[in-house]
């Protein structure tokens, strides 16, 4: 029987789900491999009571999300977190840097109350166990398909631990740091084949900090090249938590 797959989204921009629909050539093939039981974005079917794999996009930002995740975890054999929102808290977690209520007051003021049940944005694995993570803002569809096939075969998580910088060197791109421009490739998780530097733009760190990264030595490198060392932590805040960027 084809595995029954559901796609669930929390606080996100739907970009990673859009990436799923962007596998035009593969989509129908992939669909043959799975029974896409619930996908609010694409179908008016209802969320079923039993399924095998849950693909989850977005950060946890409400008490409703917490309940939903617990429910999904109790039903799904495997949970796949897609996108940096889901993996690190991503851009939604940037709200934490000034505190949620400050953010709320700036946007909505003190009048009519909306956005009930809000909690500090957090990654999915802060609430439930996640079997497979696909980082990136947005995800790379090839990486997602590799991940999904590993999940369907019962294989374990497979995120690269190294830094993106090495693949940038392999691509023979000119180094941004050497000309004093802040680039986060030095500490960012590999796997994108140095997408942005290869297109003339410094890495903004969309895959999150690599486990192998050494922030202290990265700050030294920044200083050596005339980049303000403090800008490393500040730039990294976009996709990582305050605790992570000062490690």
């Amino acid at each position: 029987m084809a595995p029954r797959v559901v796609v669930v989204s929390l606080a996100s921009d739907f970009g990673c789900q859009v990436q799923l629909t962007n596998m035009e050539d593969d989509l129908l093939d992939v669909l043959g491999l799975m029974d896409l039981t619930y996908w609010q974005l694409a179908s008016s079917g209802h969320m079923p009571d039993a399924y095998d794999v849950a693909i989850i996009e977005g950060a946890v930002t409400t008490t409703e999300h917490v309940e939903l995740l617990k429910d999904v975890r109790s039903k799904a054999a495997a949970v796949v977190a897609i996108g940096t929102c889901a993996v690190t808290g991503g851009i939604p977690a940037l709200a934490n840097t000034a505190g949620l209520e400050t953010r709320y007051a700036t946007v909505y003021g003190g009048g009519v109350a909306v956005a009930p049940g809000r909690i500090a944005p957090a990654p999915i694995d802060s609430i439930i166990d996640v079997d497979y993570h696909v980082p990136g803002c947005p995800i790379d569809t090839a990486e997602f398909l590799r991940g999904l096939s590993r999940v369907l075969q019962g294989l374990s998580d497979h995120m690269p631990d190294q830094m993106m910088c090495a693949s940038c060197k392999v691509s023979e791109n000119a180094c941004f740091l050497e000309v004093g421009t802040v680039c986060l490739g030095l500490v960012t998780r590999a796997g994108c084949k140095a997408k942005c530097p290869s297109l003339g733009r410094p890495c903004t760190g969309c895959r999150g900090i690599a486990p192998d990264a050494n922030l202290a030595s990265a700050r030294e490198v920044f200083a050596r090249y005339g980049c303000d060392p403090a800008s490393l932590a500040s730039s990294l805040l976009v996709y990582n938590t305050a605790a992570e960027v000062t490690a």
Binding site: G15, L36, S44, T106, V112, L199
Partner: protein
């Protein structure tokens, strides 16, 4: 009929519930509860560096991220007084249109079409109508690839930055895309014919229709704000005076008004206001669509989007022709970091999108403001549902729900944009 709620309306971008109250057999209230979680983007950009605004706010919406990126860039450029080259403008238009092709094709075929053929999703159509699904995927894919070509990535483009582009497509690839665009023109025309064959409810909205308008081009990248009924035109820099926002309890997205009237933006208002700027192929498509302009029927949004697809294919092929001939550079122009206030607007696939920022002397953002197309449409969607529901109240429950959902989907709402 009893009270009812449709939770997490399917085939729209983001999360919204329709809630209907019935008293003595009469619909006493009906509205769109926007439950999409708030991410506080306007607050999140405050204190960030000016060049991070497009990077961060592009994440408002992954389905129209090129539009957010370009609009945010324009607003920052307006604050810093940056003037970009003609070449950069043309490339930005291609990026915006790539998003149109992908969004309109998705909305028409994946979100809307299943309603007209009585299916829960587009997937079963792959078996019964492979030609239609292939056509949908072809247009959508070309849109994505156009964004990839110009922006380096279709979701959250990489190369578009303040002042220009960090990389440009290879001219041979551009040339190949000109051919591919001309090649999808017949598919776009078939899309018009398909949607012209679907019957839609006769219903007129009362909302004021707004769109950017320009004498130079079909306005998607720049223009003045134009109102269809009231007839005024205002510069984009006045958008805060024109559009007022208010907070309503049932929606995490703010509602908006213009002069006390709910408003509608998107393909239909654009076409109503700018039909005179259509390309020759676009005008033919409009005739095929059989629309009498101006149309006030929100269900005609589908046809308006289909006409825009035809127009876009021809127009983008023309842009590429100019890019190949004109020379010049799209490399980011130099600029000075200085304090300023700026506003930018473009026509995103779902309607006019505004970004506004304040920047301090050191280039840090002091104020962020974003008004999205769906946020502008929500008050009018509620008003339309209130006007439409009584006309179909005698239908069986399932049919009533489907028709209301169809009205919602005709607005092509994007809740992650609306709330942001």
């Amino acid at each position: 009929m009893a009270d009812l709620t449709v939770e997490h309306v399917a085939r729209i971008e983001g999360h919204g519930n329709i809630s209907v109250s019935v008293e003595n057999g009469v619909v006493s209230s009906i509205r769109m509860d926007v439950v999409e979680p708030a991410r506080f983007f306007e607050s999140m950009v405050v204190g960030r560096r000016f060049d991070e605004a497009p990077l961060i706010t592009s994440r408002i919406c992954g389905i129209c991220s090129p539009n957010h990126a370009v609009t945010s860039i324009k607003a920052i450029e307006s604050a810093l007084g940056v003037e970009v080259s003609e070449r950069t403008k043309l490339l930005r238009k291609l990026l915006v249109y790539g998003s149109y092709l992908q969004n309109h094709a998705t909305h028409l075929y994946v979100f809307a079409a299943p309603d007209f053929v009585g299916l829960p999703s587009v997937f079963p159509l792959a078996a019964t109508h492979p030609d239609i699904v292939a056509r949908a995927l072809k247009i959508k894919k070309l849109g994505n690839e156009l964004c990839n070509l110009v922006g380096g990535r279709s979701v959250h483009p990489v190369t578009a930055v303040i002042g220009g582009f960090t990389a440009e497509p290879d001219p041979r690839k551009l040339e190949a895309f000109r051919e591919m665009l001309l090649d999808i023109a017949p598919d776009a025309v078939s899309t018009v014919e398909l949607f012209a064959s679907f019957e839609v409810p006769a219903f007129d909205t009362a909302g004021e229709m707004l769109a950017l308008s320009s004498t130079d081009d079909y306005a998607i990248y720049e223009g003045e704000i134009a109102a269809l009924d009231a007839g005024w035109r205002r510069p984009v820099s006045d958008y805060r005076e024109v559009i007022t926002e208010s907070i309503v309890g049932h929606s995490n997205a703010k509602h908006t008004m213009v002069a006390g009237m709910p408003i509608i933006v998107g393909a239909l208002p654009r076409l109503n206001i700018n039909a005179g700027s259509l390309s020759a192929a676009g005008r033919d498509a409009l005739a095929k669509a059989g629309l009498t302009m101006p149309s006030r029927n929100p269900f005609h949004t589908h046809l308006a989007q289909a006409v825009e697809l035809v127009d876009a294919a021809e127009r983008c092929a023309g842009y590429i022709g100019r890019l190949l001939e004109m020379g010049g550079s799209s490399a980011p122009v130099p600029f000075k970091i200085q304090a300023g206030e700026g506003a930018g607007a473009t026509e995103a696939p779902r309607g006019t999108l505004y970004h506004g920022y304040g920047i301090d002397d050191d280039g840090f953002i002091t104020r962020g403001d974003v008004i999205t197309p769906t946020a502008q449409n929500l008050a009018n969607l509620d008003a339309d549902m209130r006007a439409f529901a009584p006309t179909i109240a005698d239908r069986p429950r399932d049919e009533f729900i489907l028709l209301i959902e169809q009205l919602v989907r005709a607005y092509d709402p994007c809740m992650s944009c609306a709330v942001h």
